[in-house]
């Protein structure tokens, strides 16, 4: 491993390179946002923050193609040849597709235990297993608890599906595309990434507000953005023959 490796945050149009928040490597019509990193010296937390900060700053002024977190190349030459030149057409095409568009992630969170109460009331299996677990010491009931959790998780999934569908119906008319993401928190109702034209951000935000009003008391709705289009830049680039 050489000493001066290069972290690559994303790719922008070369015309936007002037406003870049970090050093750029330019090749043809494309510019890569990069930073020098010492091989082996990376701290994960810092790397995550930097990745976020740089792309967050870049999306203010430009259309950005985010690269996957943790993309490091040997040196500037590798960025120029293996990334930008070898994939010039592909990258330019993706930039064109995403031009003037940003991501807004909309998350819903169940606000109280109404969901859990409904599940216990609605599922005899959950109710029975829950009764049986009462009074068992924590370790003795381990497998039953996992089983109970599984049953509840399946019920939660059914609710999530319905609530995700409702959110999509409300917000999709104001977006170019959407991706339903994994809802990783136990109380998450939905987690959806929307690709929104900058010009439509106002209308989209109003729609988020309307949805929040509709679901109020049951699900708390939060929109995060505008973001670089993380969920919509999912191409895999081959190591091109130059």
């Amino acid at each position: 491993m050489s000493e001066g490796t290069v972290y690559v945050y994303g790719v922008v149009d070369a015309a936007d390179a002037g406003a870049a928040p970090v050093r750029v490597v330019v090749e043809g019509g494309l510019a890569a946002l990069v930073a020098d990193v010492q091989a082996g010296s990376v701290q994960a937390a810092k790397a995550v923050r930097e990745h976020w900060r740089v792309l967050d700053a870049a999306v203010e002024n430009a259309t950005v193609l985010p690269l996957r977190f943790g993309t490091v190349m040997a040196d500037d030459e590798a960025v120029r040849e293996e990334l930008l030149r070898a994939n010039a057409e592909h990258l330019a095409g993706l930039l064109e597709e995403l031009r003037g568009r940003v991501q807004v992630t909309v998350k819903g969170t169940y606000v109280d235990d109404g969901l859990m109460r409904g599940i216990v009331a609605g599922s005899p299996a959950v109710k029975a297993l829950r009764e049986r677990l009462k009074g068992l010491p924590e370790d003795a009931g381990y497998f039953e608890r996992v089983r109970l959790g599984e049953l509840v998780a399946a019920e939660v999934d059914r609710h999530r599906e319905a609530d995700t569908a409702q959110a999509l119906t409300a917000l999709e008319p104001h977006a170019v595309a959407s991706r339903t993401e994994t809802a990783s928190a136990p109380d998450a109702a939905f987690n959806i990434a929307f690709l929104v034209a900058r010009a439509d951000l106002g209308a989209f935000e109003e729609a988020v507000g309307a949805l929040a009003g509709t679901l109020s008391g049951r699900i708390a709705v939060r929109g995060v953005g505008p973001l670089a289009p993380y969920s919509f830049a999912d191409a895999e680039l081959a190591a091109g023959a130059v």
């Binding site: 995550v48 690269l67 490091v72 109460r117 996992v146 959790g149 109380d187 995060v224 895999e236």
Partner: protein, 168 residues
Amino acid sequence: MAAVAHSPRGYLDRPRPSGLADVLEIILDKGIVIDAYVRVSLVGIELLTIDARIVIASVDTYLRFAEAVNRLDLTEADDSEGLPELMESMTSGGAKSKTQGALEGVKEKLFGDDDGDDDNGKQRQRRSSSRGSSSRGSSSKASSSRSSSRSSSSSRSRAKPRSSGNSK
């Protein structure tokens, strides 16, 4: 959990990098992938990615759900315990139970080795405040596992074989 700045209208937030759970959920496994052949791999980053995946999909999730329904006291209308509180305890760095091991492991990693801002102070606060809020199920264990976030790697490795062999 994320500290957020409100936009003028108020419906869209911009998460700051201190909201790492938010940030991770948005950026991990996303974005353009370049061929491994031209990539240099860095150890810290690979580990973080693996850890975060463990948090997102694991037997932990089931145990948390079980805890959530078990805590419901259906006879009392004013019972306030439930998922919100569960989330609170999950994210508060509580030394409470093994279900928190993996999550804490990642948080520790994320907040622990940063020298920049006030995360260390915040974490200390979270940890001490969690001592007072032990739940009935595991209060007897609270003192013995006070340093559980440090031992998260061991609880993680314990949880794995169980999940694969015994989901019935």
